[in-house]
């Protein structure tokens, strides 16, 4: 969890830093609109230039055979939590970087042994948006980052649980649409807005060798080895639905 906190902190700093260089100035009430069609003169269009925080559900399709010990389906469910800040606008386009944390854990009984796989994915979503006024926006997102994968098998023949954990490179590419649910009027008002959004794309994490070893303390004198379940690449199409709040 310490590593996770550090990573989240670093991601937050990355998001916060670009906001100072945003084309949209930090004092929106005095800024001239970049697109008169979207924002009245003298005000910031809060449907376009905004902080957003989202919470969603992500389902990934993983058809790797080495995923089988950990799941009875070729499917990996995760929860997504993230935030972004619009840092650049031009016409109907805007750009918003952010941070995102996806977390999922799956488990199954495999040949009588309990097996589980846990994935933390920390990425920097770089999102280009095409706005349609009160109808929201379409977006294209690429999200490089890192992921921690932890596999565990509880085999009674082993002196301790068989485990392996690694930080790996991860990235997503997706496209989707965000729709403002409420309120949809008065885009200049600095009031929180609720969005519904969905995106779909392809996710990939670099391979992990599943050579699991007994989780024994280094002081343990026993000589034990584990099991090699092959190499697992968490890759495949995914679908994510999320609710977001912006201001």
């Amino acid at each position: 969890m310490k590593r996770l906190a550090i990573a989240l902190g670093a991601a937050s700093l990355l998001v916060a830093a670009p906001s100072a260089r945003a084309e949209d100035p930090p004092a929106p009430e005095t800024q001239a609109p970049t697109n008169p069609a979207l924002a009245p003169t003298g005000h910031t269009n809060r449907l376009k230039s905004m902080w957003r925080f989202e919470l969603g559900y992500r389902g990934s399709f993983v058809r790797e055979a080495t995923f089988d010990p950990f799941s009875t389906q070729d499917y990996f469910a995760q929860v997504s939590l993230g935030g972004s800040r619009t840092v650049y606008t031009r016409g109907r386009f805007s750009f918003a970087p952010g941070f995102m944390w996806d977390y999922g854990k799956t488990g199954a009984t495999s040949r009588g042994d309990a097996a589980s796989l846990e994935v933390h994915r920390l990425v920097i979503p770089l999102e280009g948006r095409l706005h349609f006024g009160a109808w929201g926006y379409a977006f294209l997102r690429t999200a490089p980052g890192i992921a921690e994968m932890s596999a565990e098998v509880d085999d009674p023949a082993s002196p301790a649980n068989l485990t392996k954990s690694r930080w790996l490179f991860a990235t997503d590419v997706s496209a989707g649409y965000a729709y403002p649910l409420w309120p949809r009027d008065n885009p200049m008002d600095l009031t929180p807005r609720i969005w519904l959004q969905a995106d779909s794309g392809y996710g990939w994490i670099t391979p992990i060798g599943l050579n699991l070893a007994p989780d024994l303390p280094s002081s343990d004198p026993r000589i034990a080895s584990g099991v090699d379940l092959g190499s697992l690449t968490m890759r495949g199409a995914f679908l994510r639905v999320a609710a977001a709040i912006s201001y």
């Binding site: 559900y57 389902g59 990934s60 399709f61 058809r63 055979a65 080495t66 089988d68 010990p69 799941s71 009875t72 389906q73 070729d74 499917y75 990996f76 469910a77 199954a108 009984t109 495999s110 040949r111 009588g112 042994d113 098998v153 509880d154 085999d155 009674p156 023949a157 082993s158 002196p159 068989l162 649910l181 519904l196 969905a198 699991l212 007994p214 004198p221 026993r222 000589i223 034990a224 080895s225 584990g226 099991v227 090699d228 379940l229 092959g230 679908l239 639905v241 609710a243």
Partner: protein
């Protein structure tokens, strides 16, 4: 918000359903492995995953694994007598429903070297029993006793596999039936028959015996009925012994048979046949030995003659029967011994006469063992028995490879055992604190005692019988003393199998086992197909 919630839920359900690709059903079934000792490794039969995983010992208590595919639905698994081959008989996907369903088959893994090879033999019908040629040339699948492997089965059909022709098709053959079906198959060594040396297949049914030439399995069969008239009660064969390997003595090939329900010993002399359709024929002789014999053997006695020795526990005696004249000599025994094995090569006199060791298996009486000196028997039967007391009823007698003067006597209570030296007649007792199983190392240097389902294990060198105990953490299912593929010559490992989880093992240096240096392995069958 209701609309939002329902939309999210619908998408989640949709994506979940779309991702419901199922995994291989192999993962959903718990491991149910059976282990077999081979000359150069340990085989783990994983029928659920249709494979055999061979564990090969390496230096420093390391182990490598190699998987070999086998046919679907293994019904019988056996090792050859020399442990150099593993045989897995499978019924396949029977009856076939799709063109991809597997046919019944026999898989043979040759473990005579560390470079193990696999051969696969298909057959047209599923058969559940297997007989292995001790000389390594043939294997036969047959129906035998037990449940049928298919809805309709011909119990008189068997399939012969030529093990010298890998991946060939099995040869089916059906024998003529007079009401019996094959129950036990015996492969003879080369016999001197009128048309030269031949190897025969002896098929015992419930009521008769059939002989076939192995090299001409489609050829004519010689059927030998065992009752003299139709009104006589049927004779149920219970085992055969064979004699007649001398190429200089044509026509001396003989077979002796005992029955479970008959006080006769049946001998068949194989000679020229009066029927031109047959290369040889069998003349039958019935010899009354005074009771139902429990074991028989061909022996050479002091008068230079060939006899059939039969143990008759009902009369606490042994009987020597001349297969030609049917003359018998009865020898009173100190106990009703039921088992007999020849130990001539160890304690023989060099005069060509045999010495047999007798013991009682399955009795609650502590009858010990006895040596039967057949050189004295015919003339002086009362001088021919030398009894050695053993304090516990004997369950089994094990040979020690390369040290034929040693026998290990397993007792019925399994909490003690004895090492018998045939030359000095010394019987060394060894006791265990609980029920123990014994495994004798193939190199004949040591044996291992372990508690099945327990954690205790001990090595005993035959040189000093000094127990060296070690322990494992998981329960022991079986242990195997195997040669190492790497490391100094003569190195051996002791692999203790733990049938828990995905199957584990603890590996010791067999020559100097210590718990501290042992290597523990887990999840041996967890790796995917």
């Amino acid at each position: 918000m209701t609309r939002l919630s329902s939309t999210i839920a619908s998408l989640a359900v949709l994506s979940t359903v779309a991702g419901c690709g199922s995994r291989n059903s192999y993962w959903d079934k718990p491991v149910s492995a059976v282990s077999y000792g081979l000359a150069n490794g340990v085989a783990l039969l994983d029928d659920v995953d249709h494979r055999v995983v061979i564990l090969t010992a390496q230096d420093h208590q390391e182990v490598t694994t190699t998987a070999f595919p086998i046919g679907h639905n293994a019904v019988t698994t056996m090792t050859s007598p020399d442990a150099k081959r593993l045989f897995v008989l499978s019924t396949g996907d029977w009856p076939p429903r799709t063109k991809d369903d597997q046919k019944p088959s026999l898989t043979v893994i040759d473990a005579s070297t560390f470079d193990m090879q696999r051969a696969h033999y298909e057959m047209s019908v599923p058969l559940p029993n297997l007989a292995i040629d001790p000389l390594g040339h043939w294997a036969i699948a047959y129906a035998g006793s037990g449940a049928s492997a298919s809805f309709v089965q011909n119990p008189n059909e068997f399939v012969l596999f030529d093990l010298t022709s890998p991946n060939s098709l099995g040869i089916p053959r059906t024998i003529l039936s007079q009401g019996g079906t094959p129950q036990r198959l015996t492969f003879t060594p080369p016999l001197q028959l009128p048309n030269g040396q031949r190897r025969l297949l002896i098929i015992e049914t419930q009521i008769d015996v059939t002989l076939l030439e192995l090299d001409d399995i489609k050829g004519p069969e010689v059927k030998i009925p065992l009752k003299s008239n139709v009104n006589a009660p049927p004779v149920a064969p219970a085992g055969v012994v064979v004699d007649g390997f001398d190429p200089n003595s044509p026509g001396d090939a003989r077979i002796a048979l005992r029955a479970d329900n008959n006080r006769n010993v049946f001998t068949f002399t194989l000679g020229r046949s009066s029927d031109p359709n047959y290369d040889y024929g069998a003349s039958i002789n019935e010899i009354d030995v005074g009771g139902v014999p429990t074991d028989i053997a061909f022996v050479r006695t002091g008068d230079g003659g060939l006899r059939v020795a039969a143990l008759v526990p009902a009369t606490t005696s042994a009987v020597l029967a001349d297969p030609d004249t049917s003359i018998t000599t009865k020898v009173a025994l100190p106990a009703p011994y039921t088992k007999l094995s020849l130990v001539t090569n160890v304690v023989g006199s060099g005069t060509g006469t045999d010495v047999a060791m007798l013991w009682n298996s399955g009795s609650s009486a502590a009858s010990g063992v006895a040596f039967w000196l057949l050189g004295n028997t015919v003339g002086q039967p009362y001088f021919s028995i030398e009894a050695i007391p053993v304090q516990q009823p004997i369950q089994n007698v094990d040979d020690v490879a390369h040290y034929e003067q040693l026998k290990v006597l397993e007792t019925q209570n399994q909490s003690s055992f004895f090492v018998l030296n045939l030359i000095s007649r010394a019987v060394s007792p060894l006791q265990t604190s609980g029920r123990a199983a014994l495994v004798i190392a193939p190199d004949g240097q040591r044996m291992w005692a372990f508690a099945p389902g327990g954690q205790d294990l001990a090595k005993l060198n035959f040189s000093d019988l000094n127990p060296m105990p070690v322990k494992t953490e998981p329960a022991i299912d079986n242990v195997f003393d195997v040669a190492r593929a790497t490391g100094p010559a003569g190195g051996r490992s002791l692999i203790a199998i733990h049938k828990v989880g995905g199957v584990g093992a603890t590996v010791f240096d067999a020559l100097n086992p210590t718990t501290a240096d042992s290597h523990r392995l887990s999840g041996l069958l967890l790796e995917g197909p």
